[in-house]
């Protein structure tokens, strides 16, 4: 009975203040939601990497492949089998179906080791015959099947076990589709081999054993991306907790009389605390549940863009749809509960030791405390100093993120003191008594608002930092595209014969036909692309060199040197003049380093003759064509008619550029979305803090009102106060944001992608952001101001009548 009445008394508060309850639940669900969204996205991506790693059991099976990764004659497979090596052939490659790239994996179901059997060929409709006889079958995930709909692919069979963007088919079918002839990519080597067999070095000296990859390349490559998202998730959660903290703090303050009455009626302090814990737990569970639902919704909106980013940046395939993971649900609800009690800890502690005679009147819940602010500022300064040290001595992605966290947190902790100084400055320059009261009162409010303002600072700084990074990146990227994509047309032949015919046909009709021939191989365990280029003005004039020997083009053309892209140079610590050992043991010095944004792989550029000399059996299908831009369209049409090429085999410069930019935009769409959401949460934090304060400020406002200031005037002042606090915060957020941008561009990007970008500032963006945040602060202050405006004078009078 006692419990029930106690609980009813406590809950009645929320009935009278539904807005406060809404704020509490909203803050908690938002915080949980953003965090869960990031978890759901990461979970989906990781699951798909695991699926990719498990394809053909390559996480458990060793394989045989050429050292340079190139395909080899399938006769080697027969030779090895006929000498007792129980190997199974695999051919891999990429095929474009319209806009869709599909990784084709060809297998031989008869020799495939059981551990690599992800699909049951025999059990599928049509059985083995349908699988191996042309047109064959594609085993794909439901996602891939959707992407391939309407394209001229073999009949599809849908299975769950394959990653998106991968098609498993018969080896002969795959060789035909990829146009690679009787060549194989690798041989699976199961552990159960005959003991007595000839050595690999005698049978197939060009092949080497590769041990199974314990961790997939994809999960390593994409680690930085996911770390990035996780950091964003935590930031959003932290900002959300500010709201929760404000709402819970207010509720506790306003219910002090209730607490006292309940205690006076005989409810033990323990029971009261337990009731409050129960109440908060229920709220946390409800909000946590709602938050996870919200998180899934946000994640499902963001995932297509994330998937596009991962595909564009790393070639990693992640399905565009989410599956529901119990781990995300549990974690979401758990973090909601944890966040609630983190925010309510102080309040609960106070209630548990509240004496019966404690004042019932709500008092300013956080009183001005210079000392407290100083301590905070010292901690903040220490964090900033730590950030400086990290920037100087730290290496690696983790250090980069630690630097980010230290910098942002340090700036946030310093904020109240800096604001208080700025306000003191304001007070000094104001001449009227009202002005002095305004500034003094603002300063008085600062502790109560400081948490919300810190949240705003974090959100603004993140916004400025990330915005600056993205805009700098875009500016650099567009300039780089102009340098890199100089040719008017890019043509891909379907066969070597067609390529030869194309060359002959194009020569008299264009200014130049430049081969884009390439192979892939390994340099110091890094998978790299090796391109050849002709000595041509196209490259000499425009190529985006970062640093180079003055004679770089002569050296490359003469086969005396090579160029590497920035990411390869960084990964292998290559400087000009350093020797690089190419696949096949060829050694050449580096004469130039060029920028290569958006490419996850290292790249080497040789003179075309050198490339052909080193790797005589490369594919010679791709060409860049130089021609008067006005005639490019006509030439493209002629080319398509003359050779009957599919449209995607002849691409003009503009389409490649727009395609690249599209990938770029999608890459940062997620970042932008999380940015906006974080800012929205910060706005809510301010609103909820102001609502908290408004109720407590009557004792401060009543005397001013009594001295003759109208309520209208007071409300206007309140509004002005909020806006000016937001403006001051924005002012301080700009240096913090620029610092953040610098860390992102010069530390995180270099670690994550291997390229360093120049920092450009975009004050116009800040102005927009400033206007937005002032509007948000103004809107947040509007509700309390309106309340003040409509306050009955009797309420103000009561302040004097009641004993405090």
């Amino acid at each position: 009975m006692m419990w029930r009445s106690g609980l009813a008394a406590l809950l009645s508060h929320w009935r009278r203040k539904p807005l406060q309850l809404a704020m509490l639940l909203l803050g908690l669900s938002l915080a949980t939601g953003l965090w869960s969204a990031v978890q759901a996205i990461n979970g989906e991506a990781r699951a798909s990497y695991a699926r990719a790693a498990a394809v053909l059991g390559q996480d458990r099976l060793a394989s045989l492949a050429r050292a340079d990764g190139a395909r080899f004659d399938q006769q080697l497979f027969v030779t090895l089998r006929r000498n007792g090596w129980l190997v199974s052939p695999v051919v891999e490659g990429e095929k474009r179906y319209g806009e869709q790239r599909v990784k084709i994996i060809g297998i031989d179901p008869l020799t495939l080791p059981p551990v690599a059997r992800q699909i049951d060929v025999m059990a599928a409709e049509g059985g083995l015959g349908a699988f191996i006889a042309p047109p064959g079958l594609f085993f794909v995930s439901a996602e891939t099947a959707r992407r391939l709909a309407g394209h001229a692919a073999p009949p599809l069979r849908i299975v769950d076990s394959l990653p998106a963007g991968t098609a498993l088919t018969d080896i002969g079918i795959a060789q035909d589709i990829l146009g690679v002839g009787p060549r194989l990519s690798r041989l699976l080597l199961p552990p159960d081999q005959l003991i007595d067999r000839a050595a690999l070095s005698i049978l197939a000296p060009e092949l080497e054993v590769r041990t199974p990859a314990a961790e997939s390349d994809l999960s390593r490559l994409t680690d930085s991306f996911h770390l990035n998202l996780t950091a964003f998730g935590f930031l959003a959660f932290a900002v959300g907790l500010f709201i929760v903290h404000a709402a819970i703090g207010l509720a506790f303050e306003q219910r002090r009389p209730v607490f006292r009455t309940l205690r006076a009626l005989g409810l033990p302090a323990r029971a009261l605390t337990l009731l409050l814990v129960a109440e908060l737990s229920v709220f946390a569970l409800i909000a946590g549940f709602a938050g996870v639902v919200l998180g899934y919704w946000i994640a499902s909106l963001l995932l297509p863009d994330v998937a596009a980013s991962l595909r564009g940046l790393y070639g990693a395939e992640v399905p565009g749809s989410l599956s529901i993971r119990p781990a995300v649900w549990l974690a979401g609800v758990a973090i909601s509960v944890a966040g609630t009690f983190l925010s309510a800890g102080r309040g609960l502690w106070q209630v548990s030791r509240m004496t019966l005679l404690a004042p019932a009147q709500p008092r300013a819940w956080a009183r001005a405390s210079e000392r407290h602010m100083r301590l905070q500022a010292i901690a903040g300064a220490a964090l900033l100093a730590g950030a400086l040290l990290l920037a100087h001595f730290g290496t690696g992605l983790a250090a980069g993120f630690a630097l980010l966290a230290a910098m942002l947190l340090g700036a946030a902790l310093l904020l109240p003191l800096l604001l208080s100084w700025l306000i003191a400055g304001g007070a000094r320059v104001s001449s009227s008594a009202l002005g002095e009261w305004f500034w003094a009162d603002t300063r008085q409010q600062l502790p109560g608002l400081s948490l919300a303002l810190m949240a705003l600072l974090l959100a603004l700084a993140t916004n400025i930092g990330v915005g600056t990074m993205v805009s700098s990146f875009r500016l650099t990227f567009v300039g780089w595209l102009d340098q890199r994509l100089t040719s008017e047309l890019y043509v891909t032949a379907r066969t070597e014969e067609e390529a030869a015919a194309l060359r002959n046909w194009l020569s008299p009709r264009s200014d130049a036909v430049l081969p884009i021939w390439s192979t892939e191989g390994q340099i110091a365990n890094q998978q790299v692309q090796i391109f050849g280029i002709l000595d041509h003005a196209t490259y000499r004039e425009k190529w985006p060199l970062l640093t180079a020997d003055p004679q770089v083009w002569d050296f490359v053309a003469q086969g005396k040197a090579l160029m590497v892209n920035e990411q390869l140079a960084r990964r292998l610590s290559l400087r000009l003049g350093a020797d690089v050992t190419l696949p096949g043991g060829h050694r050449l010095p580096v004469a130039g380093i060029f920028s290569d944004y958006g490419n996850p792989k290292g790249q080497v550029i040789l003179g075309n003759d050198t490339l052909v000399r080193f790797y005589p059996d490369i594919g010679r299908l791709r060409y860049a064509v130089r021609i008067d831009p006005e005639k490019a369209g006509k030439l493209r049409e002629d080319l398509l008619t003359a050779f009957g090429l599919p449209a995607q085999n002849v691409v003009d410069q503009a389409s490649i550029k727009s395609f690249s930019l599209k990938i770029f935009e999608r890459t940062f769409a997620v970042t932008a979305a999380l940015n906006v959401l974080t800012l929205a949460v910060a706005g809510l934090a301010i609103l909820s803090s102001l609502l908290t304060l408004a109720g407590m400020r009557l004792p401060q406002l009543a005397p001013v009102w009594a001295m003759g200031l109208t309520r209208r005037h007071l409300a206007a002042l309140e509004l002005a106060r909020s806006v000016s606090l937001a403006a001051l915060t924005l002012l301080l957020a700009i240096p913090a944001g620029l610092g953040l941008a610098w860390v992102l561009l010069a530390v995180i990007n270099v670690e994550a992608f291997g390229w360093r970008l120049p920092l450009y500032v975009f004050p116009a963006d800040w102005a927009l952001l400033g206007a937005l945040s002032l509007a948000a602060a103004g809107a947040a202050a509007l509700l309390p101001a309106l309340r003040l405006l409509n306050l009955r004078p009797a309420v103000l009078l009561k302040v004097f009548a009641h004993e405090r």
Partner: protein, 351 residues
């Protein structure tokens, strides 16, 4: 011995089964159908016949080791075609499967290999005769112009065993049925079928315990056809016997609901075949044992009254289960009664 078609169909013709087993019994879907009167010509017909659906080269050997122990060896290459043609490359509709085994009184080692046609991993050539899959080989060591299967080098390997044997036959191959046209059922299903049951064998088995020199006898069957069996048949028991008196006996029983169908060929010591009428042979299981979780007969009474033949068999190793994708029992036996000798028994459909 077209009953063995059943075995290969169980494995490779799953799609065909899905399309309807009954249809396959009557028409061969574009595949060639054995016709009476078409002569078997050597060496050409030692090679593969891709226009027929199924084919095998099936060798079993009863051996005696230098250690005094009895051993049995099996080497089989099956061909199954998805379409009646051969093509180069992975497009080939020809599929190959190899089974090899070594059996002693205490052990039974099995290995299995699979391959596509068209790429060279497995295949058969007529002259010089060679049949292979991976590192397993059954290849002629006879000179050109001589009966290609009169001298054979045979090898196979598994994880725990390998063997290298030399086979030598002093008589020509034995044509089964009417000059190699072997009728299998009242409905007229038939195969082309010849055997070489007269091999003398010597060589070495490599077993986990070490190498063993062996000598003995071997029996090779080569058979090709296109028509599978009736769906009512649940399995078969097949017998190949080397009699100490020099004769050979091949017989089988097809099991179905009505008690089964038996057939046999008596081969004189000079190689003259005497096909026996249906039901002349009687086989009776005397004892069953649990092998690989199945009840399998391990002792048989085999009677061919027309030849005064009545023996009881005893398996060298009752555990001679072929745990391959399609599993069956195949192992060496000794028999006693009116005649004594040794041979091989194959039993399928005991699942």
């Amino acid at each position: 011995m077209s009953v063995r078609a059943f075995l290969i169909y169980l494995f490779l013709a799953v799609p065909a089964l899905a399309q309807g087993f009954a249809g396959l019994g009557t028409d061969a879907e574009g595949f060639a159908v054995p016709q009476p009167g078409s002569a078997i010509i050597f060496p050409r017909d030692h090679g593969p016949h891709p226009e027929y659906r199924i084919e095998w080269w099936y060798l079993t050997a009863n051996l005696k080791g230098a250690d005094g122990e009895d051993y049995g060896v099996q080497w089989t290459l099956f061909r199954s075609a998805l379409a009646p043609q051969e093509k180069a490359g992975w497009d080939s509709p020809q599929l190959w499967m190899g089974h090899a085994a070594v059996t002693s009184a205490t052990s039974h080692f099995v290995a299995e290999r699979m391959s596509r046609g068209g790429i060279g991993q497995a295949g058969v050539t007529a002259e010089p005769f060679a049949a292979w899959i991976d590192d397993w080989r059954m290849a002629s060591s006879a000179a050109g112009g001589v009966d290609q299967i009169s001298k054979i080098d045979l090898s196979a390997s598994g994880k725990e065993f390998s063997y290298k044997l030399k086979l030598d036959a002093q008589r020509p191959p034995v044509l089964q049925g009417q000059q190699g046209y072997s009728v299998k059922s009242a409905e007229g299903q038939a195969s082309f079928y010849y055997s070489q049951p007269f091999y003398a064998v010597s060589g070495t088995l490599s077993l986990p315990g070490g190498d063993v020199a062996v000598e003995g006898q071997a029996w090779l069957d080569h058979e090709w056809s296109s028509q599978p069996l009736a769906p009512s048949q649940t399995g078969w028991d097949w017998f190949s016997f080397h009699l100490e008196s020099g004769e050979k006996l091949m017989g089988f029983r097809l099991r179905d609901e009505t008690g089964g169908f038996t057939s046999a060929t008596w081969i004189a010591p000079d190689g003259t075949p005497e096909p026996q009428p249906p039901a002349a042979l009687a086989v009776t299981p005397l004892e069953t044992e649990t092998v690989a979780g199945r009840e399998v007969p391990t002792r048989w009474r085999v009677e061919l009254p027309a030849k005064g033949f009545r023996v009881e068999t005893r398996a060298l190793n009752p555990e001679a289960w072929m745990a391959t994708q399609v599993s069956y029992w195949e192992g060496p036996v000794r028999f006693e009664g009116t005649h004594a000798g040794r041979g091989y028994i194959e039993m399928t459909g005991y699942d």
